[in-house]
Amino acid sequence: MKNTARYFALFREQTGCESETIDWAGGTAAELFQLVAEKHESLKTEAAALVAINDEMAGWETVLAEGDEVLFFPPVAGG
């Protein structure tokens, strides 16, 4: 199935990419992250990273649906 992956801040710099379509077997948000981390070697897993699906904050264990847009947020630092 197809999902869009979007990268922000540090992740965008590490992947050199803002957004890409991933065609894969499907699974959880965490599994998609693992897949794109294998593709982009410089993308480092961060324990404090957050994920949103279709503009709503979500858990890493959420199972993705066809066409979901998955936002990968590196550790946040507002304020």
Partner: protein
């Protein structure tokens, strides 16, 4: 309006005025300022990246939680995005309520949640010419974990 992202300087007096209410005896305010140093490095300016669609929704949610949890009368949070110079206001939280205890607690809650839950990132630009994305303060100091992957 409860939460907003601004790409122009924050009008502190206007935010304060927005929570004014004659039934309130207490106002608690927090401002985050651009500091000239971080972890031993001299900083010249900061750059905030904000993903607005989620930040605005989740920011309004934080304010609603504070209103409900602490029973305060009014609460407002404005966060900057873009390039900020030393001394500029990066974020302001204003909370008004009849008494002071709950105003302090709600104000603290809002800034703590804002710093850890909203998709906002800052890049420090150093005197030496380099720049770096800043990690969330809890993670940097204590291996604090938000996710589980």
């Amino acid at each position: 309006m409860k939460f907003a992202v601004s790409n122009t300087p924050i009008d502190v007096a206007a935010v304060r005025k927005a929570v004014a209410d004659n039934s309130c005896g207490a106002l608690a305010v927090f401002e985050g300022w651009i500091r000239d140093h971080n972890e031993g490095q001299a900083v010249v300016r900061l750059e905030y990246e904000v993903y607005r669609p989620v930040a605005e929704k989740e920011g309004a949610r934080i304010i609603d939680e504070a209103l409900e949890k602490f029973g305060v009368s009014h609460a407002l949070c404005i966060h900057r995005e873009g390039l900020l110079e030393l001394g500029e206001v990066a974020v302001i939280v204003c909370v008004s309520s009849p008494h002071r205890g709950e105003a302090f607690e709600a104000c603290r809650y809002i800034i703590d949640e804002t710093k850890t839950r909203l998709p906002i990132w800052k890049k420090e630009h150093y005197v030496t010419g380099g720049s770096e994305w800043v990690n969330c303060e809890q993670c940097a100091s204590a291996g604090h974990s938000h996710g589980d992957h």
